[in-house]
């Protein structure tokens, strides 16, 4: 799909980019003002990856996401109000206040959920791929994960099984250079992280993760391959996390200069806006319209979410198990 040169695709992409950015800025603000609880993993600076990737997917394709999952969730089509309500611990949130940011899933968009466990979603995505393969649909599962996840046994086992069975899965690594404080360049002595694929007999691709079109194209190719029954692909999208890992992060493991240089010269949204302007696809006014719409949408979502009833402990014991309904056959 051409995004940069197609008006409606460009508007869609820009809307998604801004929705992610503004949603997370709102979260950061609410947290800072003591209105939000727990911890927080922001993907500001990384918005191009979910945006480009999900535009290569159908609604019925699956995704699995991570602790840093707002972007994936929004890009796959989740409702901002229900997301915000969840973070505000409301009964109307996606998880009814039980999961919070790290566990939002959205059945309507086949988003199988964020995951608090690094690499926890990797075998789950492979399982969704297995399911699609066995059911004979041509659905694909995209597994978003971080570079740090490549250290986990779960990553390995999910990829091993997907490679053996040629499952329709795209393992999409958001390489933001660090797993918390561990530099992935130091952790994995590879020329590029996508060389990891060579150990598994699947294609490995590196892509500029701050370029919506580039991410989209890499994922589109991998998805086509997967739908054709040719198996999984490992894509590494190079990007950068502007904020700390979570609120406890003092950024001691990286320099202020490094952060500044990415913010200033490699902002995925600024880059996308520049490219669509240069291509003549959108005007400054078009862009402003998108921004305004997102701002209004988000404002409404926050307001409605904040006004919703708080989650209550009633019924928690009954929420542990799905109700059994008797013989399934």
């Amino acid at each position: 799909m051409q995004i940069v040169t197609d008006r409606s695709a460009a508007i869609e992409a820009l809307g998604t980019l801004w929705r992610i950015r503004r949603f997370e800025e709102a979260v950061e603000d609410l947290y800072g003002r003591g209105m939000m609880h727990g911890t927080m993993h922001l993907s500001i600076g990384q918005e191009a990856v979910p945006t480009g990737a999900c535009m290569a997917l159908r609604r019925d394709d699956y995704i699995t996401s991570t602790h840093r999952g707002h972007g994936h969730c929004i890009a796959k089509g989740a409702d901002l109000e229900r997301m915000m309500a969840e973070l505000l611990a409301k009964d109307t949130g996606y998880c009814r206040g039980r999961g919070g940011s790290m566990h939002i899933a959205d059945a309507a968009t086949n988003n199988l959920g964020a995951n608090g466990i690094v690499a926890g979603g990797v075998p789950i995505a492979a399982g969704a791929g297995l399911s699609a393969q066995m059911r004979g649909t041509d659905q694909v599962a995209v597994c978003f994960h971080g570079d740090g996840a490549m250290g986990e046994g779960a990553w390995h086992e999910g990829v091993v099984l997907a490679a053996m069975w040629k499952l329709p899965v795209v393992f999409l690594c958001e390489n933001n250079l660090y797993g918390m404080s561990m530099s992935s360049a130091k952790a994995f002595p590879l020329e590029q992280l996508s060389d990891r694929a060579n150990g598994y007999g699947i294609p490995g691709v590196t892509v500029d993760g701050n370029d919506v079109q580039a991410v989209h194209d890499a994922v589109e190719t991998a998805v086509a391959r997967a739908r054709a029954g040719e198996g999984p692909t490992f894509i590494v999208a190079e990007t950068y996390r502007w904020r700390g890992h979570s609120k406890s992060d003092k950024n001691l493991y990286r320099t202020r200069d490094e952060i500044e240089s990415w913010r200033e010269s490699n902002d995925p949204i600024a880059r996308f806006e520049k490219s669509v302007l240069e291509a003549g696809t959108l005007t400054e006014a078009d862009i402003q319209t998108v921004r305004d719409e997102v701002r209004d949408d988000l404002r409404g979502a926050v307001q409605r979410a904040a006004a919703a009833p708080d989650a209550t402990p009633e019924g928690l014991l009954d929420a542990v198990f799905a109700p059994t309904t008797g013989a399934a056959r």
């Binding site: 926890g120 066995m134 779960a154 999910g158 013989a327």
Partner: protein, 353 residues
């Protein structure tokens, strides 16, 4: 005693008492392994979303022969050999279960659930709750536990207490062939993850088993025998040892009730407590190591219940010693409760209190 004789002891009894088929259907004689295979065949033939995956379940026929030649009948798609990747196997099961399939995963020895613990405890069991009901995980995990085969400490554990401590996971321990079949079929009806802890020593034993598409209800204990002097609660292979002990006790004039919880979580406390109240004396028998074992939970439930005032004796546990399972046959036998140990413990309880 030769090793061969010792081995045959370890293979257990051929004709357990009180472990026949549940009423209500025709029955046939089959081994515990065959009963499970029968359930697999019935479910997989009836429901296109059901399949089995695990290590060596295909052509090999399963490490304990459970699948046998099932792959010839059902194909490699539905009886699926995996790599040696327990975490991956369970994880793929979770993903498939969330997306319209009903996977059964086999962990070759229950000890290797340690490898898969994240996907069992942190994913499968919690997803429905954490995700606020946005997803279900109708996953069945089968894993053989227990000692008695000379396989030593990493292949002989009884880990049910770990699983019982995980909210969101149902845990069952079939003590008979009929229950092995009925519980597997019931687990496949359940929209929640169910851990089935089979027992290695039972696989080759013959039982009376209901034929056809039957169920053993999850969450319901079975009173395997009744007697007025004491109530024995036992799980897994200790159910049949307790039943055998009860016969020996009866010969000495001591009448024992034997309750098999069948399901550990959610536990049918009501049935257990009712039987405790009747006798006032309790002996809890498990193969697992004592400290932190599931019978500690049963004891605690009794001790804080209304049955407390009916107790005329301390609540006795008879468990595996707090040691890893040793290799040598004489050591292996010594560290888990045998029939004689149950007789001795029960007699002491009744005589002293």
């Amino acid at each position: 005693m030769t090793m061969q004789e010792q081995r045959s002891i370890h293979e257990g009894l051929e004709h357990p008492t009180g472990l026949g088929a549940r009423p209500g259907a025709e029955t046939a004689e089959m081994t515990y392994a065959e009963a499970i295979r029968d359930a697999l065949r019935i479910a997989i033939e009836a429901d296109p979303s059901v399949f089995l995956m695990g290590e060596d379940v295909g052509r090999y026929g399963g490490a304990f022969g459970v699948t046998g030649t099932l792959v010839d009948e059902l194909g490699t798609d539905r009886i699926r050999d995996t790599t040696i990747s327990e975490l991956g196997i369970v994880g793929l099961g979770v993903g498939a279960a969330m997306t319209g399939m009903k996977p059964i995963v086999e962990i070759q020895f229950s000890d290797f659930t340690a490898q898969a613990m994240d996907q069992i405890a942190n994913q499968a069991a919690k997803i429905h709750f954490m995700l606020g009901g946005e997803a279900n995980v109708p996953l069945v995990i089968r894993a053989p536990g227990g000692s008695g085969t000379g396989a030593a400490a990493q292949h002989s554990q009884s880990l049910e207490a770990w699983f019982a401590h995980i909210p969101g996971l149902k845990v069952v321990m079939p003590a008979s062939g009929d229950d092995a079949k009925g519980l597997l079929l019931a687990a496949l009806d359940d929209p929640n993850p169910v851990m089935i802890l089979e027992h290695k020593l039972l696989y080759k034993q013959t039982f009376e088993v209901r034929t056809g598409d039957v169920r053993t209800p999850i969450g319901k204990a079975a009173v395997r025998r009744t007697g007025g002097d004491l109530t024995i609660v036992a799980t897994g292979v200790e159910v049949q040892r307790s039943l055998e002990a009860a016969e020996l006790l009866a010969a000495q004039g001591i009448q024992a009730t034997v309750v098999d919880p069948v399901t550990l979580t959610p536990l049918d406390s009501a049935t257990i407590l009712a039987e405790v109240v009747k006798t006032g004396r309790v002996l809890l028998v498990q193969e697992a190591v004592q400290t932190g074992g599931f019978m500690s939970e049963v004891s605690a439930i009794i001790a804080e219940s209304e049955a407390f005032v009916h107790l005329r004796a301390p609540i006795r546990r008879l468990s595996g010693l707090d040691v890893p399972i040793p290799y040598a046959p004489q050591l292996e036998k010594a560290v888990v409760p045998q029939v004689d140990d149950i007789v001795v413990a029960a007699t002491a309880l009744v005589k002293e209190w």
